[in-house]
């Protein structure tokens, strides 16, 4: 009888840990920001009702359920969309609040975004990292901005991307280098032989070929360009809408840049600028 009781407790305990619900809250905010002397409209998912440029990443353990409450401070409806996870019944009315439960079947990176023009084209998009909270981890959210297009979107003058969209401001977590180099969630710091996880989403419209100096990384999760799953690379494309997870195990110390190798993207605010960040690996 006693054995049965222990087994039952263990079973209930395992059920309980399996069914952990992680609660979180995000606010949808809009504002304009001066990016390298260009005034740009942004929409962002933030921790409070105060606008912040960087969309806040979300984290859950594998098998956890994410219960996220979205508070829409905007005068227009938005969605909270995660491809293949939450695609319908996900609208948040203007100045309203909605709660969604998301269950992730596998470890890795997912992208959440507001699937309306004045959301996704104004950078309302961020990372969800599942199953790597116990690792040293960082977040890169790639985006390209253009003031005139985003002004038209913000003012309701258009809802579609032009055919030959040529952005001018290139960012990681909506920051451009050198500001990326001090970004607490994006600038990579660690030690030799650490297992460092980098969660990458591409919220922009261009393919971004990223190049690591000093190291190769292993692509351990990729949602769109699945051909490169498991590859060790120093340069690889990040497709629009992509969500991928990189494993970096540094074998030498050093301070190195990581950057988009489509070199139109590395001069925002002057060269070197734009889509560049840093690795700082200590012995």
């Amino acid at each position: 009888m006693r054995k049965l009781t222990i087994l039952a407790l263990l079973f209930l305990s395992s059920i309980s840990s399996f069914a952990t619900i992680v609660k979180d809250t995000l606010y949808i905010n809009r504002d304009t920001v001066n990016q390298a002397t260009t005034i740009i409209h942004y929409c962002s998912f933030n921790s409070t009702e105060t606008f912040e440029l960087t969309n806040r990443p979300l984290e859950v353990n594998e098998n956890d359920t994410l219960q996220v409450t979205i508070i829409n401070t905007d005068s227009l409806p938005h969605t909270f969309t995660v491809d293949a996870i939450l695609e319908t019944g996900n609208t948040i009315a203007p100045f309203d609040t909605a709660t969604f439960q998301l269950k992730f079947n596998s470890k890795g990176t997912y992208r959440y975004y507001s699937d309306v023009a004045y959301g996704k084209y104004l950078a309302a998009s961020g990372n969800i990292l599942v199953g790597y909270s116990n690792y040293i981890h960082f977040f890169w959210n790639l985006f390209e901005a253009k003031d005139t297009f985003m002004d038209s979107i913000a003012n309701g003058l258009t809802a579609t991307l032009p055919n030959y969209f040529k952005p001018e401001v290139f960012t990681i977590n909506n920051l451009y280098f050198p500001y990326t180099a001090t970004d607490p969630i994006g600038a990579v710091t660690g030690h030799v032989n650490d297992s460092i996880i980098i969660s990458v989403v591409n919220s922009g419209q261009m393919v971004s070929p990223f190049h690591f100096h000093g190291y190769h990384v292993k692509i351990i999760d990729v949602k769109i360009h699945q051909t490169i799953l498991g590859w060790e690379k120093d340069t690889f494309p990040v497709f629009p809408g992509e969500a991928m997870t990189l494993l970096l195990v540094p074998d030498q110390p050093g301070m190195y840049p990581v950057h988009n190798h489509n070199l139109v993207t590395v001069a925002t605010g002057g060269y070197p600028g734009g889509m560049i960040t840093r690795l700082n690996i200590m012995p």
Partner: protein, 391 residues
Amino acid sequence: MKQLFFVLIFAPLLGNSQIKHTKLISKMDGTFLSVDGINTPYWGFGEFNPTLANQRISLPSPLLIYDLNDSVYLKLHNLSPEMHTIHLHGLDVTQINDGVPSTSFGVLFNDSTTYKFKAKHPGTYLYHCHVHTNLHAAMGMSGMVVIRNFPDTNLLYANGPSFNKEYYYLSSDMYLYWNFNVTSPGPFHMYEADYFMVNGKAGTQLFDDTTQIINMSAGDTALLHIANVGYNSVEYIFPPEANAVTHMSDGRILPSPIDKDTLVLYPGERYSVLLSPTQFIQGHITVNSANLYNTGTIVGTNYIGINIDSLGQGMQDNKLAYLNLYPNPTSNSLQIQSNETLDIHIYNVQGKLFKTFNLQRGINNLDVSKLSKGIYIVGANGFLPTKFIIE
């Protein structure tokens, strides 16, 4: 491949590994003859030649070949007025040897430095100047590095597949406005590639150059080192009969080989591809250059000739057939006789695609009246790219 050469000045044996010394110079006074016949300024690296008073650079910069486990000492002497560096792209060198001025150092006018690294993985790599990279690389300051699987240099990697022929193709692009207005190039995000090269050659320069053609006999296996240092992506389309299989990328072995006829290289990527044709081929590898904006438009095309002789003798000359065009020159229409249904593509000499026609069996009359005066190229699978003139 005359511009590409093995640079090895001093190589004493040291057990299994060797010490290799290479000396390059950097200059900003190069000119190359573009495919339209225009002398075009470029910058680059060149092999140091002690017998020359006036050192020369090349486009692309010299091919550097080393062996696995080599200890490499790569000396750069800067003979140009601006600072330059060598970034050894993909070789995972130490910070001080990384060639990024802000985290290592730059090489000033008439100064020298030596970059040091160990060749730890066989494969295909790049090098380029990392000073104002978006301008210096676009002006031509880039080349390929290959690490051979020493001592079994006929194997891709230890216990890997073997090959008996080896070719090197470095794709790049230029925005010629910058070449001619380098002191006032305008906003750097406005770069718009309009000149597309493989090994520094474009259009007719590439497919007319027999040294660029892959010549094989049935039973041969050729290793192609392919790299892209341009702003655009490049799509390599291999003839199905070539049995192209991709085994490595960025100097690492792929978890499983990729058996596909199409391979896209994004800026900075490199691949090792084996061709193992089992039958006669007269054709070409198509190299499409596409911008990375949301449309991904193909803006230029080049061709690398590939000839496989089923009789067991690699062909030394280009024996592909030309399309039969008439009249040539023309002004309004072009007549092409075809024995099969066939898609043909009309490009200008810089490889920019103008129009695609679907030919039917028999005589086809094509309306080319909207093309402005100049030289054009017709490309089609199974035929040599063929020139015609609009008067």
